[in-house]
Symmetry: C2
Subunit: 490 residues, 2 copies
Amino acid sequence: MHDHSPHMPPAEFERLGAELTRWIVEHLDSAEARPVTAPVAPGEIYRAFPPSPPLEGEPLDALPGELDRLVVPGVTGWQNPNWFAYFPCNHSYPSILGELLSAGLGIQGMLWNTSPACTELESLVMDWSLEAFGLPDRFRTMPRDVDGPPCVGGGVIQDTASSATFCALLAARDRITDGVAGRDGVASCPTLVAYTSEHAHSSIEKACTMSGIGRANLRSIPSDPETFAMDADALAAAMHEDAEAGRVPFFVCATCGTTSSGAIDPTARIVEIAKRYDAWVHLDGAMFGVAAICPEWRWTLEGGAACDSICVNPHKWMFTNFDCDLLWVADRTALTRAMGIMPEYLRNAPTESGEVIDYRDWQVPLGRRFRALKLWLVYRHYGLEGIRRAFREHVAIAQEFADMIDAEPDWIRVAPSPLSLVCIRHRDGDERTQSVLEAINASGEAMLSHTRLHDEYVIRVSVGQTNTRLEHLERLFARLVAFGREPIQS
Amino acid sequence: MHDHSPHMPPAEFERLGAELTRWIVEHLDSAEARPVTAPVAPGEIYRAFPPSPPLEGEPLDALPGELDRLVVPGVTGWQNPNWFAYFPCNHSYPSILGELLSAGLGIQGMLWNTSPACTELESLVMDWSLEAFGLPDRFRTMPRDVDGPPCVGGGVIQDTASSATFCALLAARDRITDGVAGRDGVASCPTLVAYTSEHAHSSIEKACTMSGIGRANLRSIPSDPETFAMDADALAAAMHEDAEAGRVPFFVCATCGTTSSGAIDPTARIVEIAKRYDAWVHLDGAMFGVAAICPEWRWTLEGGAACDSICVNPHKWMFTNFDCDLLWVADRTALTRAMGIMPEYLRNAPTESGEVIDYRDWQVPLGRRFRALKLWLVYRHYGLEGIRRAFREHVAIAQEFADMIDAEPDWIRVAPSPLSLVCIRHRDGDERTQSVLEAINASGEAMLSHTRLHDEYVIRVSVGQTNTRLEHLERLFARLVAFGREPIQS
């Protein structure tokens, strides 16, 4: 069957699969020995490859060596234990196996009918996750009891929180306009206004841009100067003012873990205020929503139970390969009415029966991968307790790091850091803080990123790579202190 | 390091990796022995799993058996050679290895700076693909010559053509309104109108819904009754009428391979007409764009060279795992102006230098996987000639199947089928045609899907699964004839 065929013989796949599995282990085990920042100039990786695709197929026997030579120099160390930039985007061996399986099965789950297992295992891990994070049954996808009434809410895996938030905003837009915004366009509606904290993620602004609402109709609500959490009174005032002026408040995005400082907005109060206007409340738990898996941090999602939608990101801290964002909605019809399509060529009996979920109507794209496998394997391998143990270790070392900072006069901790993100600045001010960040990143010993809080340059130390231990933070601390005393590089 | 750790030891990963690689081979080799349609009832897969996530981690030793028992019954046969439904979504061993590598590396390529290799290998395979499909240098991402002037256009890998088309429509919307639509909202703009063929994909309508343009402002242009390609004169008339009425034609989507019949729109003429109004022309080559890799089918993308954007889907026919859609734009600034964001926490020196691409600004989500690896390995393993050989075999057997239909009085071929999609109906009419489709799908021997053309129920026979050979089409033909003569099941 494979003679003279252009396709790869199975034996070669098995051999290369074993080699690459071994290569991945070696690559990850040696991560710490490589610079965290990729030491390449723009264009360097591109120019190392031939300028044209091969006319005839080439053997892949030398692949491990090629990867080391051509690709790895341009790989930034997200899986290096000295990774403290942006947010964790960690992974785990069980999750990698899940991606391998998903690729091997090669199904496309746009409809229930195009792979019931893809849809139903996804519904399952979404329901498992509700239990894991202590969220209520109103978000369930399948009834607990096989004979129970059909669920009104439900959950779906999205690629990212950006997409999840966009879907939530569209559902909100079409709910408040009774579908007019999607059908006749935003121009046929009264002026719709969205609200989020000044520290919310840029994806809220992008969602307003993409949806035709317009970024100018997103109100940036001030935050508490100590906690950086949204000022609920300011929200109430802004919504009131818009409503008085004849505009329609339709969407509020609360954040559980702002990018800049990890602040947790007062979601319960936000819901209370938003309800006066029938505005949709979305809780963006991309950064810290998964912390709720530990009972002692369940407060991070407080108020979430009453929201219209919530998303959290196992692909950040929870050992699940990017991409895996979990989105729940309390009213699935609001979502599918905004996102649904039904051309003739996709009609099928299970869909018409109304007994199944077609997740294509819960997202932007039509097609979808079998993402549930990786999350299923993460739950299977770790169990809830295994994940909790790993999270607690990360938070414990982040707290030790916060203590080191608090005991060091040169450095100032600038925001509460109850979990795994610690924001700091040098007492000498912006120039010094920035130069330390740049020196550390240039050294390749660690990677850091920054933000601005109270208009000051701030280094964010985000802990969460799978293998980060106290020793890595001790080394980072020593570098911060040392570089903070050197002459500033210009 | 791994003692008492909740993480999986590397040796276990290597062992399970080898087992799952072997399992994938056996699963694919035995695909033909399983029903193509998944013989499960709604809820059956979900209910076979425990209702709650495990509290403590569980060994994964029994995984292969669990997959066979719990997951495979709900797997629809996209990789079964008797798959003729919807479109091919084939894959290949090199591509699966690419997904494994991407998962193992575990990087997130939102910025050039967060993994230069992810961005630059993507730019490389996009430029390779221009050569592969005979598209012009105006879509190049990196200059041919290292010292050449910077490129104006460029390419990016999207998850799906739905997302690619949505990005193109947003770029068009914000180009014609000089950014007002994104900033102040669609309500601040004149009435914007989009155009596409009545046979275009549902994602165009969805893009109009999501963008706030409104589905009502999408004109469904009639098609030629013989070829089902867009009637360019009707397009010209519709655009003229809207412009005369003070509305603003801003976006035309031409299709290379409509879902219903594989029709190829007259893109060159469409561009000529659209240019009168400065409307953006997007060529949706999701279905048949990749055929242009063969010189004899390069005509399928005719006119594409002059479009504002084009997308094609290696994840359909071209042995590359879903998801892998290639989107090119002639003016990258139009795209990044519509999709770009720059919060403080993502600022970095390479971005500010303007010398690098940050692909987050070329797509809906912020984060992104290392998708280029799988396409790179497909090109490496097959070479252009290997892909061509496989495509030619698929088209040759599809043509033989078309000949069988033409020689069989019971069945009528209802549309031109120059490539790998053959649309047929039974001479007895809709009820008979539908009953044959349902009988074949219920038998599990093959999977078919349908559409409506000239308001008649039509079976679409889409050829392209990696291992489909003539014998599979001969068997399908025999079943069509046999079921077509049996009493209709009600």
